[in-house]
C-alpha cells in the first residue's frame, strides 16, 4: 500500500502540524527555533528551520529533509563539516539521519523511509520529522563549530533524549495527539470544549516545542 498525496496530508493534519503545499507535491513545515533550547540559525541568520516532506514517485517511500539547513561558506572547513556529519550519523540516537554536503558547502540533513507496500502512520511521520529536527537541536553546535573553525568536537553535546524528562513526556503527548487527531482534537476530548487548555503547563509546553517546535 503506497502512500498517496491525500493520505500524507491527512497524516500531517493528524499530527497537528501546520504545513505549506508546494507545487511538486511536497509539503513544507517551518519550525520556529527562536526559543530555548534551540541554538539553530539558518544561513540567513533567521530562527526558522524549513523541513520538507516529499513522497517518492509512486508513493513507495518518503523523504524528510531540511534543505540547505547550513551553508558552510568557509570552503577550507568543508572536510571538517563532512567529518562532523559522518560523526553525527554514527551516534546511536541518529536513527537514519544522514547528511549531504555538496561542493558549494550546502549541508542538508535528511531521513528516508522505504515504505514499499507497507502502511504509513501518523506516528511514523512524527518520528521521521523528529529525527531531523531533534538531530539539528542536539548537534547544531557540532556542525557550527566545524563550519566556523574546522574543529570537530562532540564535547558539550546534550545527552541522548532518553535521559531528558521533556522527551519522555513528549512521547506520551505525541501518542495522544496522534490518536486524538491533533491538538484541537485532544483538547476537545480532554475538556469537552475547544476553549479549555488541555496542554497547559511549562513541562508540556517545553516538550512540545522542544521536539517538534511547532509553536501556536
Amino acid at each position: 500500500m503506497a502512500v498517496t498525496d491525500k493520505r500524507l496530508r491527512t497524516l500531517l493534519k493528524r499530527c497537528g502540524m501546520p504545513y505549506d503545499s508546494y507545487p511538486d507535491g511536497a509539503y513544507g513545515l517551518t519550525i520556529d527555533c527562536s526559543a530555548e533550547p534551540y541554538t539553530y540559525r539558518n544561513p540567513e541568520g533567521g530562527t526558522e528551520l524549513l523541513v520538507v516532506i516529499s513522497r517518492e514517485p509512486g508513493g513507495r517511500g518518503l523523504t524528510v529533509c531540511a534543505p540547505i539547513a547550513y551553508m558552510a561558506d568557509q570552503v577550507g572547513n568543508l572536510d571538517a563539516v563532512r567529518e562532523a556529519c559522518l560523526g553525527i550519523q554514527s551516534q546511536s540516537q541518529s536513527c537514519g539521519l544522514r547528511f549531504s554536503v555538496d561542493e558549494s558547502g550546502e549541508v542538508s540533513p535528511q531521513v528516508d523511509l522505504v515504505l514499499g507496500d507497507a502502511k504509513l502512520t501518523a506516528t511514523l511521520v512524527a518520528r521521521l520529522l523528529g529525527i531531523v529536527v531533534r538531530g539539528l537541536v542536539r548537534f547544531d553546535g557540532v556542525i557550527r563549530q566545524a563550519m566556523e573553525t574546522g574543529v570537530v568536537s562532540f564535547e558539550g553535546v546534550p545527552p541522548p533524549d532518553e535521559s531528558d524528562p521533556a522527551e519522555a513526556l513528549w512521547t506520551r503527548l505525541r501518542r495522544m495527539l496522534v490518536y486524538a487527531g491533533g491538538l484541537d482534537g485532544l483538547e476537545a476530548i480532554a475538556t469537552g470544549g475547544p476553549d479549555s487548555p488541555a496542554l497547559d503547563g511549562p513541562m508540556a509546553r517545553l516538550a512540545y516545542d522542544r521536539i517538534i517546535g511547532v509553536s501556536e
Binding site: 513507495r60 517511500g61 572536510d79 563532512r82 567529518e83 556529519c85 559522518l86 560523526g87 550519523q89 554514527s90 536513527c95 537514519g96 539521519l97 544522514r98 547528511f99 549531504s100 554536503v101 555538496d102 531521513v111 528516508d112 523511509l113 522505504v114 515504505l115 514499499g116 507496500d117 507497507a118 502502511k119 504509513l120 502512520t121 506516528t123 511514523l124 518520528r127 521521521l128 529525527i131
Partner: protein, 210 residues
C-alpha cells in the same frame, strides 16, 4: 507493531538465507552472507539488528574500510558524502576511524511487510556494492570519481512480491504465462529467457531479435 525478531527470521528463511541469531530482551542480531551480482565482490557480510523492540531495523554491511589506514582522508570523506548523496537510504558511520556502511528502517507502529523488507534490504546492500569501487579508489589513490558506479537496476525499486504480481496480471491479460513469454520473445526479450528447446527450434540464435 514494527517487526519482531521472529518475523525477520521468517523473511530470511523464505529467501533461503542461512543466518546466525543472537537475541536479547530488546531485540536480536542476525548475521549472514549475501551473494552479490554487483561490483567485483561475490559476497558481503550482512548484520541485521532488530532494535527498539522492533520499532527500528538496522542493516550493517561491514566492508573493512578504514580511515586511519589511508593518507587520503579528505578524499575519502568527500567520496562518502558523494555516495550518500546519490543513494536513497545508505549512510556511512565513522567510529574511531572505521567506516561502516549501514541503513536504518524506522518502523514505529507501522507493520513491516515482506515487500518493504525486501526493498529495504536490496536498496541497502546493492547501494554498498555498487559504490564499493568508489570508496576503494578514494582510500587507495585519493581519487574521487563516481564513474565506476554501475547504473542502478530499474528493478531495484521493485519488490519481488510486486514484480510477481504485476507479471501475473500481464500474463492473465495476454492469455497465460507462455503467451506472455512468446510475446516478449517476439519483441526482443532477454536471451537467457529462452529455453534450450526454443533455441533448437529457432536455429540456435537465442539473441534479441531487434
Amino acid at each position: 507493531m514494527g517487526i519482531s525478531v521472529a518475523s525477520v527470521g521468517r523473511l530470511l528463511d523464505r529467501k533461503g538465507i542461512q543466518y546466525r541469531l543472537a537475541q536479547d530482551d530488546f531485540g536480536g542480531m542476525f548475521t549472514f552472507q549475501w551473494a552479490s551480482s554487483l561490483s567485483d565482490i561475490s559476497t558481503v557480510d550482512v548484520v541485521i539488528r532488530v532494535v527498539e523492540s522492533g520499532r527500528l531495523l538496522r542493516v550493517e554491511i561491514p566492508m573493512g574500510y578504514s580511515l586511519s589506514a589511508t593518507p587520503h582522508r579528505a578524499a575519502v570523506l568527500q567520496a562518502l558524502m558523494k555516495v550518500q548523496g546519490g543513494c536513497r537510504i545508505l549512510r556511512y558511520e565513522l567510529r574511531e576511524g572505521e567506516i561502516l556502511p549501514q541503513a536504518d528502517l524506522v518502523l514505529e507502529d507501522c507493520e513491516a511487510t515482506s515487500g518493504q523488507f525486501d526493498m529495504f534490504m536490496t536498496l541497502a546492500i546493492n547501494g554498498v556494492c555498487r559504490h564499493h569501487k568508489v570508496i576503494q579508489q578514494a582510500l587507495e589513490s585519493g581519487v574521487v570519481s563516481l564513474q565506476s558506479v554501475e547504473p542502478a537496476d530499474p528493478g531495484e525499486v521493485e519488490t519481488p512480491v510486486d514484480t510477481v504480481s504485476r507479471v501475473m496480471k500481464l500474463a492473465e491479460h495476454v492469455g497465460g504465462l507462455e503467451a506472455l513469454e512468446r510475446l516478449v520473445r517476439l519483441h526482443g526479450g532477454r536471451a537467457d529467457m529462452v529455453s534450450d528447446g526454443d533455441r533448437a527450434q529457432e536455429g540456435g540464435d537465442a539473441g534479441p531479435s531487434r
